[in-house]
């Protein structure tokens, strides 16, 4: 099958400071449909920079990037917006939900920017369905400050999936969560991955990374190692072993 992501000698240099920072220096990478990749590496190794480029939030200084067969390194701003809207879902460490806006409306947000808008009723239906899928349908009317971190991250995942993206990008999605909640989130990721969504996830914790199928380690803007996970962890099984808590 055609790869979702093809990177060819990708470079990113920040010129803003006193001297240029070479955040990414020559990354070539292919990720196929249905993969679940964890990106690891020391702080400052260029993981977030790479994710931003993959997410079409930023453009590489040089090198090629094909997303789902489209050469995006040279696309204008508006077309990058449209790609983010239709092909990519983001999950952030700090959730990035709109405050004072209910969960269901947060989930509806990406649909508002579709070039082919849906009816309001259809939007609501899809948003509720998406919330249901991440196990938080009952909290649809709550605003982020009425939700726990894990619940907020579920809302964020529901939002990232709403336009049926081909690629889910998660930059330290469990960074602000306790271990049990982390496993719950990873369980959702694994389930989504089983359903066919390609996932790229940045993490510092080997424990978390071991839920992926493939681990890439970065250092100084380059890929150091790129291995398949030998003993993959299954979040659902782990949760079954953990003593039951109050639940989500």
């Amino acid at each position: 099958m055609a790869p979702i992501i093809e990177l060819e000698d990708l470079h990113k240099t920040y010129e803003s400071g006193e001297e240029p920072v070479h955040a990414v220096r020559g990354v070539s990478l292919t990720i196929s449909r249905g993969e679940f990749v964890a990106v690891m590496g020391t702080s400052g190794s260029g993981k977030s920079t790479l994710m931003n480029i993959l997410g079409c939030l930023d453009r590489p200084t040089s090198g090629g990037y094909r997303l789902d067969g489209i050469q995006v390194s040279t696309l204008p701003r508006d077309q990058l917006s449209d790609l983010r809207n239709r092909k990519i879902g983001f999950v952030f460490q700090n959730f990035n939900l709109l405050s004072r806006t209910s969960a269901v409306e947060n989930v509806e947000l990406p649909m508002l920017y579709r070039r082919t808008p849906l009816s309001a009723a259809e939007q609501r239906r899809k948003a509720l369905q998406s919330l249901e899928m991440v196990g938080i349908g009952k909290r649809a009317g709550h605003t982020p400050n009425q939700l726990s971190g894990g619940q907020q991250q579920r809302v964020a995942i529901a939002r990232s999936l709403i336009n049926d993206p081909v690629l889910l990008l998660a930059d330290e999605p469990t960074g602000n969560l306790d271990s049990r909640t982390s496993i719950e989130i990873l369980g959702i990721f694994q389930r989504l991955n089983d359903e066919g969504i390609t996932i790229l996830m940045v993490t510092h914790e080997p424990e978390v990374a071991n839920h992926a199928k493939r681990i890439i380690v970065m250092r100084d803007g380059r890929i150091r190692t790129d291995n398949l996970v030998a003993n993959r962890l299954n979040a659902a099984a782990e949760l079954g072993r953990l003593p039951a808590e109050g639940g989500a």
Binding site: D78, R84, F90, N96, L109, L112
Partner: protein
């Protein structure tokens, strides 16, 4: 994004900071209210003048002593004393198409009755005066030609003066007022006419035969003004021409010298008054427009603050696929909503002000659709104009930096 959704989002954002939104819109509110009220007052004044022309007849003309180039309406006209009673008689006698002629003398006088005192305007006129000015009576009636001939000590009183001196119009009839110690018997009370073109209360007056006024009270020989009415269907311009020729001849003016009198038709006087009120209206409208612009600057200021406060929100929207233009439209609509709400409240306020002004003052206010639509459109334009810079600033934010913003 759908426009409907954009408006809903804008409303929400504004409702989140109710007080701030209201204070921001205040500039627009006051600006719009001021524009509409000011123009309304100007129009009211204009309409009043037009009504007066209609009530007084457009067939009247006035001859003033003194040339028109010396001084303006208030000081110059009627002050030089070049017109005589003979001029008035000659006009009546010799010019065809003239319906009525009255010499007019006036002066301010203290009048008294019992222990009541009042300063009023004393008018000395001929019996024709009342028909020329289309002035009717609520009580009693006018003096007649023979009263004038007989230097009769009879007077007709205006409504304001009657109320001040006697408390009511009925009471005034038959009473005696002393004008500089000359006793006049009141034989009529005039119907109210309101303020003149130039703002004087026409009902504050005591009208007596010119003969009595000149000889018994004022002691003058010349007259400042002659009022002439033209027969219906006859050309006013023609009569003006003939009066001018006649008086030049009578005053033995060589052709090249400036006349020592001036003639104004009722229409010209009305035009002068409307021109004045027009200038005022324009000026007031201009000042009020400036406050709209100041209101716009307030909107720009608050929108800039809002863009900074919501940098992260903008970052999120960009990350999930909003285009720069979506963000631009969102903030532009917010600014326009703010200014349009301000505009609508301002329009409401203007109508309220108009009602209050008309209730508590004699000033008529006449609000027309023009300034309402104009200031509504103007406030929308202000919103777009002053909202554009902040909105563009929001739209051009870098998504990554916006997401990182604390």
């Amino acid at each position: 994004m759908r426009l409907q959704t954009s408006f809903r989002t804008a409303f929400r954002a504004l409702l989140r900071n109710k007080l701030r939104s209201l204070l921001t819109a205040l500039g627009i509110i006051i600006g719009v209210a001021a524009v509409i009220a000011m123009v309304g007052i100007g129009n009211g004044a204009k309409k009043q003048v037009e009504d007066q022309v209609a009530s007084m007849g457009d067939n009247a003309l006035m001859v003033f002593s003194g040339s028109s180039s010396r001084g303006g309406m208030s000081g110059g006209f009627g002050s030089a004393g070049t017109l005589t009673l003979e001029d008035a008689f000659a006009i009546k006698r010799e010019i065809p198409g003239v319906q009525g002629v009255t010499p007019e003398v006036e002066g301010s006088a203290r009048i008294s009755s019992g222990n009541q005192n009042w300063f009023t305007r004393l008018n000395g006129v001929d019996a024709d005066y009342f028909s020329i000015r289309m002035w009717s009576f609520t009580h009693g009636g006018p003096f007649e030609e023979r009263d004038v001939k007989a230097y009769a000590k009879v007077a007709v009183i205006g409504k304001t003066t009657a109320l001040e001196m006697f408390g009511s119009e009925e009471e005034a009839l038959g009473k005696i007022v002393r004008v500089r110690n000359v006793p006049f018997t009141i034989i009529g009370v005039l119907a109210p006419k309101g303020a003149s073109f130039f703002g004087r209360d026409q009902d504050d007056t005591l009208v007596v035969p010119y003969t009595s006024a000149m000889k018994r009270v004022l002691g003058v020989k010349t007259i400042p003004r002659i009022t002439v009415s033209v027969e219906r269907g006859k050309s006013v311009a023609m009569v003006v021409e003939q009066v001018s020729n006649l008086l030049s001849q009578r005053h033995r003016l060589p052709g090249d010298r400036e006349p020592d009198f001036s003639i104004r038709t009722q229409e010209e006087l009305a035009n002068m008054a409307t021109a004045t009120s027009k200038t005022m209206t324009t000026l007031l409208g201009f000042v009020a427009s400036i406050s709209l612009i100041v209101g716009g600057i307030g909107i720009m200021n608050i929108m800039l603050v809002s863009v900074t406060e919501r940098t992260r929100e903008i970052g999120i929207r960009l990350a999930i696929g909003a285009r720069g233009s979506d963000i631009l439209v969102q903030f532009l609509i917010e600014a326009v909503t703010l200014s349009l709400l301000g505009g609508m409240i301002g329009i409401g306020l203007a109508f309220l002000a108009a009602t209050l002004i008309m209730r508590f003052s004699p000033m008529p206010v006449y609000i027309t659709a023009g300034p309402v639509l104009y200031s509504f459109a103007f406030s929308a334009a202000v919103g777009i104009l002053f909202g554009f810079y902040p909105a563009r600033k929001a739209a051009s934010l870098d998504p990554i930096e916006a997401l990182r913003y604390e």
